[in-house]
C-alpha cells in the first residue's frame, strides 16, 4: 500500500513537471512575458517553419537592433555615421526632417543582414532545411540567405565580391544552430538608427528551439574597422506560426520595395 501511495506521488510530480503551466519571470515590465512553454514534441535539430519576431523577454526600452549597448565606434565609423540622417533620437547622429533623411531603405536599397531581421515592414521569416543547407527566407523584400551546412568554408580573401546579404555557413553545436557570415557590402545600415558597418563585418548568429513554438536567437557583430569591440546581441525570441497571416495562399506575401511606387508615375 505504501508503494502504491509512493507511486501516486511520483506520478503526480511527473504530471506537474510536464505540464504547460508557465512559470512567470519576475522583473519583466514593459516587455512581453516569457512564453508559455509548449509541451508538443519537436525535433531540436529542425528549424523548419514560419517564424515571427516578438518582444518576448526583451528588456524595457529595447531598440530595433542588435542590442542597446552599441560599442564605441572607430574614427572611420564615426565619419560614416556622421553623414547618416534619420528621424530617431536613439543611437542616431541626430533628428532630421523627413525630406532630409537618407536611410538607404527609402530608395529601396536591399536592407541587408542583420537589419532585415528587425526592421522589416513584414516580419516573417522562414527556415527550410535541405540536404546541403538551411535556407532562411524573409517576407520583406522576398530575400533569402543560404546557410550552407555542407562543409564549405567562408572565404577570408580580399578578392571576394561582397554581397548585400553576405556569405554564410552554418553548423550544429548541440541543439544550437550556429551561423557565421562575412563579406557584406558596406552600404547597408545595421539598423534604422544608422549604425554603420564596414566590409570587414563578421556576424555570428545562434538559433535554438526552446520548445515547439519558440526559437531564441542571439546575433553578435564583430567589425574591427567600425567598432572597438564585439557588439553582443540581446536575446530575441521568435514564435512559430502555422499559417502566415498576410497571405491567403498559405505562403509569404510578396513584399517588394518598388521604387516606381514611391512616387506618382505614369502607368503603361
Amino acid at each position: 500500500m505504501r508503494n502504491r501511495f509512493l507511486g501516486s506521488i511520483i506520478f503526480f510530480i511527473a504530471v506537474f513537471a510536464l505540464s504547460s503551466v508557465p512559470l512567470a519571470h519576475s522583473g519583466q515590465t514593459g516587455a512581453q512575458r516569457a512564453p508559455a512553454a509548449s509541451n508538443k514534441p519537436f525535433d531540436a535539430h529542425d528549424l523548419t517553419g514560419y517564424w515571427e519576431l516578438t518582444n518576448i523577454g526583451r528588456p524595457p526600452g529595447a531598440l530595433n537592433t542588435i542590442s542597446n549597448n552599441r560599442p564605441p565606434m572607430t574614427d572611420w565609423a564615426r565619419g560614416v555615421f556622421g553623414k547618416t540622417k534619420t528621424g530617431y533620437k536613439e543611437l542616431s547622429s541626430g533628428v532630421y526632417p523627413e525630406n532630409q533623411r537618407n536611410d538607404p531603405a527609402l530608395w529601396c536599397d536591399p536592407l541587408g543582414f542583420p537589419r532585415i531581421l528587425w526592421n522589416s515592414t513584414t516580419p516573417g521569416m522562414r527556415f527550410l532545411q535541405a540536404s546541403s543547407e538551411v535556407i532562411q527566407f524573409f517576407e520583406n523584400g522576398r530575400a533569402w540567405r543560404d546557410l550552407w551546412t555542407d562543409g564549405r568554408k567562408l572565404s577570408t580573401g580580399e578578392d571576394v565580391d561582397p554581397r548585400w546579404f553576405g556569405y554564410a555557413v552554418g553548423k550544429w553545436e548541440g541543439d544550437t544552430f550556429v551561423v557565421t557570415s562575412n563579406n557584406y557590402i558596406d552600404k547597408t545600415w545595421l539598423d534604422q538608427y544608422g549604425s554603420p558597418h564596414s566590409d570587414k563585418l563578421t556576424v555570428q548568429e545562434r538559433y535554438r528551439r526552446t520548445d515547439s513554438d519558440h526559437l531564441e536567437m542571439f546575433v553578435d557583430i564583430t567589425d574591427p574597422k567600425a567598432y572597438t569591440s564585439t557588439w553582443k546581441g540581446d536575446k530575441k525570441t521568435f514564435v512559430r506560426v502555422d499559417k502566415p497571416t498576410r497571405s491567403d495562399f498559405n505562403d509569404f506575401s510578396e513584399n517588394l520595395c518598388v521604387w516606381s511606387e514611391k512616387k506618382v508615375r505614369p502607368r503603361l
Binding site: 556622421g82 553623414k83 547618416t84 540622417k85 525630406n99 532630409q100 537618407n102 538607404p104 530608395w107 529601396c108 536599397d109 536591399p110 527550410l128 535541405a130 546541403s132 535556407i135 527566407f137 522576398r142 530575400a143 533569402w144 543560404d146 550552407w148 555542407d150 562543409g151 564549405r152 568554408k153 572565404s155 580573401g157 578578392d159 571576394v160 565580391d161 554581397r163 548585400w164 546579404f165 556569405y167 491567403d248 495562399f249 498559405n250 505562403d251 506575401s253 510578396e254 517588394l256 518598388v258 521604387w259 516606381s260 512616387k263 508615375r265 502607368r267 503603361l268
Partner: protein, 321 residues
C-alpha cells in the same frame, strides 16, 4: 538395427563427428560466401545507382537555359549559351485591349515586329526594368541568369540570380488562387509530376511587367504552363505556353529549349568557396539585385530625391540642402 562391434561403433562415431565437422565447416564457408556475395551485389547496385542519373523526379541543382535549338553551351564564358525562357517570336495577335497596352511601350530593343517602336534616345524608353521594377516571370530567367531548384517535401523552390528572388512551386496539392487574388510580380505557382515531366502552372500576375525586352505585354489574366521534361540527369527540355484571353486572341506556345545542369553558376568566382574533397565546386548562384540608387544611367528622366540634388550626394550626405 544393425549390430556393430564396440570398436566399429567408436570408429563410426568418430567418422560421423569428422563428417559433421567437415559439413559444418562447409556450411560456414558457404554461409560466408553467400554473405560476401550479397554484400558485393549491394555495393555494385549502389555504385550503379550512383553512376546512373540521380532520381529522375528531382531537379534540384543549378541550371542554365540554352537558346532554342541549342543542345549545349557554345562557349564557357559567363552567360555564354544562356538564353531566356522565351515564348519565341510567334506572338499571336493582340486583342484590342492588348494592342492598346502594347502601343504605349517604348522598348530599348530594336526588334520589330515584336517591339512597337524603336526610339534611339534613352530618354524615350519606358522599359520598367530601367526603374528597377521587378522583372517578374518569365522575364527574370535566362540571359546571364542561372536557375537553381531545391526540391523538398511540399514544393520545389526556384531561385533566380536576377533580382535575387524565388518562386515557390507548390507540390502539396493546393489549387491556384482565383481571380480575386492580390496580383504578384512573380505570380502564384503550383506544380506536379506527369510521368517524367514536371508541370508548373501559374497565375495571379501583376500586369505591369513585360514578358521580354521587346515590350510584349500581358494582362492580370495571364496563365502560364511550363513543362520541364527530364531527358537525363544533366538535361531538361523546357517549354512554356501562355494563355491570356484579355491580351491575346490565342495561346502563345513557345519553342522547346534545353536546360543544362551546372555544377555551380559561372557567375560565382570559383575561389569563393574552394572545392569539395572530390574536386568539384560548391554549388552557388550569384546575387544580382537591381539597385536604383546605383544605376545612374537610369536617372536620365528622374531626380529620385525630387529636390534637385544629385542622388549620390544625398546618400552620402554631401548635398548642400
Amino acid at each position: 538395427m544393425r549390430v556393430v562391434g564396440k570398436e566399429s561403433s567408436a570408429q563410426t562415431v568418430a567418422m560421423r563427428k569428422a563428417v559433421e565437422r567437415t559439413f559444418n565447416m562447409q556450411n560456414r564457408f558457404l554461409n560466408l560466401f553467400v554473405v560476401l556475395a550479397a554484400v558485393l551485389a549491394c555495393a555494385n547496385g549502389l555504385f550503379a545507382q550512383k553512376a546512373q542519373s540521380s532520381n529522375p523526379h528531382d531537379i534540384s541543382g543549378v541550371w542554365r537555359m540554352l537558346g532554342p535549338g541549342q543542345t549545349r553551351a557554345v562557349a564557357q564564358t559567363v552567360g555564354a549559351g544562356a538564353s531566356h525562357p522565351t515564348l519565341g517570336n510567334n506572338r499571336p495577335p493582340f486583342t484590342a485591349w492588348g494592342q492598346a497596352k502594347w502601343s504605349q511601350t517604348r522598348a530599348s530593343a530594336q526588334r520589330p515586329p515584336l517591339s512597337y517602336v524603336f526610339l534611339p534616345d534613352q530618354k524615350d524608353w519606358n522599359d520598367p526594368l530601367f526603374v528597377c521594377d521587378p522583372a517578374g516571370y518569365p522575364r527574370t530567367g535566362g540571359g546571364n541568369s542561372m536557375y537553381r531548384f531545391v526540391q523538398v517535401a511540399d514544393e520545389v523552390v526556384e531561385f533566380f540570380e536576377r533580382d535575387r528572388v524565388w518562386r515557390d512551386l507548390w507540390t502539396d496539392g493546393r489549387k491556384l488562387p482565383g481571380a480575386n487574388a492580390k496580383p504578384r510580380w512573380y505570380g502564384y505557382s503550383i506544380a506536379h509530376w506527369d510521368g517524367d515531366t514536371f508541370v508548373v502552372e501559374s497565375n495571379g500576375f501583376d500586369d505591369r511587367t513585360w514578358l521580354d525586352r521587346q515590350g510584349s505585354i500581358h494582362s492580370d489574366q495571364m496563365h502560364l504552363e511550363e513543362r520541364y521534361k527530364v531527358l537525363d540527369r544533366d538535361h531538361i527540355e523546357f517549354s512554356m505556353t501562355l494563355t491570356d484571353p484579355k491580351a491575346y486572341t490565342t495561346p502563345w506556345a513557345g519553342p522547346k529549349q534545353t536546360m543544362e545542369r551546372m555544377e555551380s553558376s559561372d557567375g560565382v568566382a570559383p575561389g569563393i568557396w574552394g572545392k569539395r574533397p572530390n574536386g568539384k565546386p560548391y554549388e552557388d548562384i550569384r546575387e544580382d539585385y537591381c539597385v536604383y540608387s546605383e544605376e545612374h544611367s537610369f536617372w536620365i528622366n528622374d531626380d529620385p530625391t525630387g529636390l534637385g540634388n544629385n542622388f549620390g550626394d544625398v546618400l552620402t550626405g554631401t548635398d548642400k540642402k
